[in-house]
Homo-oligomer: 558 residues x 2
């Protein structure tokens, strides 16, 4: 693509080119000037107003980054974040997880009662979005009549009969509210830490290098932010740690601007039952209709990959026929080992990380630092590496006195040197036994086969892939049913671009296994665990297909 | 999916089920206990160590969120963030943009000289990743010989000849460094604001409601964070505002832990040439080989959508044959109007936003607040809305005294009430004239047609879609060539899932336009502008296909 001759290139020869674009240009210019002046004013004012945002504000405004794209997705994400925290907590004390999730629908009038707002009847009907003026009503009825006429004609002529055109609304309507409660039998939280653990974005205890379900330390806090945005109601936490003779109760919200917890109530209550664990309750806007199926799929897939846990899922509403109680029973007492915190692999560190490790180390000299703060560097290996760094370096030199140039030298050597692959010992795959059991208990297939890879490595991070294939079963569609897991959580969205889906669909020759890809009921289960799951980042590269207005506008323009 | 009978269900009847999983279970249990104990210790220590991260640390550790997935993508993203800031800056003062981008490759030895590090020859060869032991060498040669023998046999038998197996490396190798410089003729930055504008994450001037190229206020700061991670070198800024008799010069990096700028040098220098604008220079690790084509596509597409700008793109290296100079010439002086800051639409606000608007408003009473802080609420409309809110509300009530219940009432009414759609006046589409011109100047097609939609709306945000179709041209592949733009920036990644691509590929019947979708050289151009581009958020739903180790591990497991 050499466009260096672009200067001298004339415009193309098509008829379109010759229309003088005078009108557009003129309009553009005039508009440009008028608006430019206004714009300038605004911008001049602005440039002296450099604004600083708190991380809580940032995530409130970009909540889609954390999976809170819309009310339905927010309900789903709230539920799964609470469930994943609960599992982590129970497992961290080697307790077989026992988790209860309740989603309770709250009508607007019940919601208003909760917050002490008197319900008002509509007075000025014409103010409302669903108001239909007399004229609009006549128009609609006439249109419907015309449509039915055409239908009758078409039917008479044997033509295909179309569906009635959908009434186009703005899709806003009434908000639906839900109380989401998740209770576990886990570690609980230290009484004094509760406000900061839930009311401060980017604070957390899971920041070490370890296979974890969570990734960003955002989960429950995002649920709290979403409740502030949609209902304004605080979050409620009950918690008790093993052996505590009290239960902590805390009601709090978050000061978004300062990113600090705002505590309404924080007290110790009697703990008669010796319960330990945490119960978190949040009231948010949601959409059960659109995300019911995702939520149930999530629960079922979680039950597949976590057969040693017991889940009780309930949906409660005023309409008894919508209510649900699903118990996913425990099928084994064999729990995978707890993932262990591990040290960094020398080939996976950057300059910033080396600096941080030096700032945090308790080791005095370079030799000890290399030997103890990384995996796969033995003492003799460390000595050879120091020798290779050059005459400015020595094993006894104080590690905290290294200059930035010397850090670059170490970084460069780490990049080029050979190190053994990190071991997978710190990882906690589901295990073939658990995976098989989970598939059998939830799908009841005719046949199931599983396999686990040995630990492998990318960018210094170990990973293990486990897979299962099932044929037949209950509630399984014909064709491929793909179940994806990363660090033992189900992945349900953006399936199309995922490495697992692509591999299953395109790179596997199913017929060589005598499997009919279209007709058999095939379950494909792939689980990846790692100290770093390479989730694909969102840049600004992607416009979703799910905003119907834009989708149809793009279509309509042709 | 009713699994409430799960308790009583026996396991399936397949042969696989009957294998006693004793070994796996036993191993799991034992490992579980041993590790659990170790894990407990680590966790107990941890729970008292609630850590707080700064936003700079968060983005350093999750840099893929901002498009810094790997060195190649980081080079691309650094370049595009600088170009987009430059365009915004020139346009903000109604200056026809004149932008120079230089990417200069820096060899490791040049880089080391720059930072004052003495180059060292390798001494202990066996330490390095590319070292091949005598034994490994023999093994490889034997393998190659066997392969050639098989090849010869196959060829003799008329069988298909396979490619030689690729040598599997770890894909780390030497880092490549690049100096990226971007110079514009824009507004420049106020001298005293420079450190905070570049050395503090989540600070910015573009946070109002307006069509902007940037979205997160992260761009240049992420480039700085990436330079800290990969080279440790500071960023350099030259800037001058119109009429200033000096140029600001600033060299700074960022204290990641505190999220504050760390200024090395900040001074005023003589400005003899009366230049105004900004020049930013950053030295980072990158990968030109893998992302060269994306970078050039980006520049070309930016030239299509911005024909009133002049771009000079240069790639410089020690290898003269790799060097590039591409000039994308200005083709028109007609600039689209500057996007204007606008007020929020009442149907697009949440509770938090209403609170913030109340905190920030200068208006005294509710009537003035409704009338002046939102679009599409006239005085009489505001009066009717206040009447509808109920007897507790009145036009004269002090807006800052509203209780949280009253805010919920306002929010509920905003959700249900009908408001006119926001106008598209604040938007700045490229314009059909510019889009056509851009297509012609960069592609030289045989035919081009363009169309613009009238403003439409989603969730209270106006948007405009413009589209173009071209047939034939220079450097255009056969079939569909899709060019996507959002707020006048090209989108190059994650094409497959994008609404534009999906629409073009699946929902348009090309043959009805007498276009052959396979054989013709079709350019499809779609540009969307809005005060809110609904970029699809990535949660934890997606594992990329581009990490070959995982991709092949998933494949190999079958």
């Amino acid at each position: 693509m050499d466009t260096s001759d672009d200067e001298s290139t004339g415009v193309g020869g098509a008829a379109e080119n010759k229309k003088p674009p005078a009108k557009a240009a003129g309009k553009g210019k005039a508009a440009g000037k008028g608006k430019a002046a206004a714009g300038l004013k605004a911008s001049a004012k602005e440039s002296s107003l450099l604004k600083q945002k708190s991380p809580a504000e940032f995530f409130a405004e970009n909540k889609n980054i954390a999976g809170f794209d819309n009310p339905g997705k927010s309900l789903y994400t709230t539920m799964r974040e609470l469930v994943e925290n609960a599992l982590d907590s129970s497992e961290s004390i080697s307790e077989l997880p026992d988790i209860e999730i309740t989603i309770e629908e709250i009508t607007k009038s019940k919601f208003n009662t909760m917050i002490g707002l008197v319900d008002r009847e509509r007075v000025d009907e014409a103010l409302y979005d669903d108001f239909e003026s007399e004229k609009a009503r006549e128009k609609r009825l006439a249109k419907e009549a015309r449509f039915q006429e055409t239908q009758a004609k078409n039917a008479a002529l044997g033509k295909k009969v179309k569906d009635a055109p959908a009434v186009r609304g703005k899709g806003r309507g009434e908000a639906a509210f839900f109380k989401v409660t998740c209770k576990d039998n886990g570690r609980g939280m230290p009484h004094d830490d509760i406000p900061n653990m839930l009311g401060r974005v980017l604070s957390g205890t899971k920041y070490g290098l370890r296979q974890t379900r969570g990734k960003f330390g955002l989960g429950a806090k995002m649920a709290l932010i979403w409740s502030k945005m949609s209902t304004g109601l605080p979050i409620e936490i009950k918690s008790s740690m093993k052996g505590q003779n009290y239960t902590s109760f805390c009601r709090l919200d978050i000061d978004i601007h300062k990113n600090v917890p705002h505590v309404h109530l924080h007290e110790k209550r009697e703990n008669k039952t010796h319960w330990h664990g945490a119960e978190i309750q949040v009231i948010i806007e949601g959409n059960w209709t659109t995300h019911r199926s995702k939520i149930l799929h999530y629960m079922r897939q979680m039950a597949v990959i976590t057969p040693y846990a017991q889940f009780l899922f309930r949906f409660l509403s005023d309409a008894a026929d919508k209510n649900l109680t699903i118990k996913f029973a425990r099928r084994t007492d064999v729990m995978p080992p707890i993932p262990l915190q591990t040290k960094h692999h020398p080939s996976a560190v950057d300059l910033l990380l080396i600096k941080r490790l030096i700032a945090e180390t308790t080791k005095q000299n370079l030799l000890q630092f290399l030997q103890h703060e990384f995996v796969n560097i033995s003492k003799s290996h460390a000595e050879r590496l120091i020798g290779e760094m050059g005459p400015d370096f020595g094993p006894k030199m104080t590690v905290k006195s290294l200059t930035s140039q010397q850090l670059v030298r170490i970084h460069q050597l780490f990049r080029q040197a050979k190190f053994d692959d990190p071991s997978g010992n710190c990882l906690s795959p589901a295990g073939e036994y658990n995976l098989r059991l989970g598939i059998i208990k939830e799908l009841h297939p005719d046949m199931v086969a599983t396999h686990a890879s040995s630990p492998q490595v990318f960018e210094g991070h170990p990973f293990i892939v486990e897979a299962g294939i099932s044929i037949g079963g209950k509630d399984v569609k014909h064709g491929l049913n793909i179940f994806r897991f990363a660090n033992r959580i189900p992945l349900l969205f953006e399936q199309g671009a995922d490495v697992i889906t692509r591999t299953a669909l395109k790179r596997i020759n199913w017929s060589s296994y005598k499997i009919n890809q279209q007709q058999d009921k095939i379950g494909v289960f792939v689980s990846i665990v790692s100290t770093k799951i390479p989730f694909k980042g969102t840049g600004k590269e992607y416009i979703g297909d799910d905003i119907t207005e834009i989708s149809s506008a793009v279509k309509d323009i042709y």
